[in-house]
């Protein structure tokens, strides 16, 4: 058995991970809600990882957004742009 060597730039998106925020709702009546955050170096893996990690419900709607695309207003200057609801 050989040791894994994770190539950060290619596999996680840089020295630190590239994050995506996950939003979902169960029914048409529910608001689209932040349900979690996952790391992925590209959109394809972000989509899949969000789908598999957040399968606690059969969502009516699910989407992912790169955290970098989010502009914090109340949370500007804070470490965490989006707080889990």
């Amino acid at each position: 058995m050989k040791r894994k060597k994770i190539q950060r730039k290619r596999e996680i998106g840089g020295a630190t991970p590239r994050f995506y925020e996950v939003f979902a709702r169960k029914t048409s009546d529910d608001p689209l809600t932040h349900v979690g955050s996952i790391e992925a170096p590209n959109d394809a893996l972000a989509e899949v990882r969000a789908w598999y990690i957040h399968d606690e419900h059969e969502w009516r709607e699910l989407c992912v957004v790169p955290t970098a695309a989010i502009i914090a207003v109340t949370e500007r200057g804070r470490n965490v742009k989006i707080k889990e609801v």
Binding site: K4, L45, A46, E47, V48, R49, W51, Y52, I53, D55
Partner: protein
């Protein structure tokens, strides 16, 4: 008129049974590939994704094996009564993956090939089988997306690209053979069960693989014609029994706890 397997003529019935066994058993071995790969995952979300794909592949297997009971088999026999010579999985999955790129290339080919095969039933007069095909399609989307995402990562390393291409060139002929070389294949189209012939499936499969590997540095050298595999059994859609080590890895143990 309600669809009934017993209403099919002998040739169509046999062809359908053979085709579904080939797909089901391939999914079963694929589920085992995913199982053994989980701890090789290269990130926490990878561990989760590989576990999920294990469950999905086994779920597809279960649906297909349950459907095969319609042909007069006992479910327990299908699941636990068969030996290495009875399992009809793709030869392509006989040899374990030699590396992460080989694992990705092979599972991607297996997912593409099994999807080609089962998608032929999307408009099947048997709505149960059509529904099964649709469900498999919904889940296959994510398995293919996983491979696609990882191919993007591999593309950024010359060494990984080379390893992926080499694996693809080695494995691809066996996937092509599996899709093409069927006995009584026209019987399914004739009976209106499947709306695509094996020849068309091979063409569509080849096109998908070409599209999906456009990122590789050098063009992947893939055969056009269906390879002739020595010892090919057309009904089983494979040559030879399952290798001992593979059968030992996949078979169900613990009969005391079976139910």
């Amino acid at each position: 008129m309600r669809f009934s397997i017993d209403g099919l003529d002998g040739k169509a019935r046999t062809a359908l049974e053979n085709d579904l066994f080939a797909i089901a058993d391939t999914k079963f071995v694929l589920g085992n590939w995913y199982t053994r790969s989980i701890m090789n995952g290269r990130s926490l979300p990878d561990f989760a994704a590989l576990t999920a794909m294990t469950g999905a592949a086994y779920g597809h297997t279960r649906s297909l094996w349950q459907y095969l009971v319609n042909f007069g088999h006992i479910y327990g026999w299908i699941e636990r009564g068969r030996g290495a010579a009875d399992i009809r999985s793709m030869n392509m999955l006989d040899t374990p993956p030699a590396s992460w790129p080989d694992f990705l290339a092979t599972t991607w080919l297996a997912e593409q090939a099994t999807w080609m095969a089962i998608s032929g039933y999307l408009n099947c007069p048997d709505r149960a089988l059509a529904g099964l095909a649709e469900k498999i399609g919904e889940e296959t989307y994510f398995h293919l997306k996983y491979a696609e995402g990882w191919m993007e990562i591999l593309s950024e390393s010359a060494a990984d690209s080379r390893a992926f291409t080499a694996a693809l060139e080695k494995r691809y002929p066996l996937a092509l053979a599996w899709l093409g070389a069927t006995e009584g294949s026209d019987a399914l189209k004739k009976a209106g069960l499947r709306d695509i012939s094996p020849a068309k499936m091979q063409k569509a499969f080849a096109a998908e693989i070409a599209k999906g590997t456009a990122w590789t540095d050098k063009a992947v050298s893939l055969p056009d014609a269906t390879p002739q595999i020595p010892g090919w059994n057309a009904a089983m859609r494979r040559a030879g029994p399952l290798p001992d080590r593979l059968f030992e890895a996949i078979r169900f143990r613990d009969p005391e706890a079976a139910h």
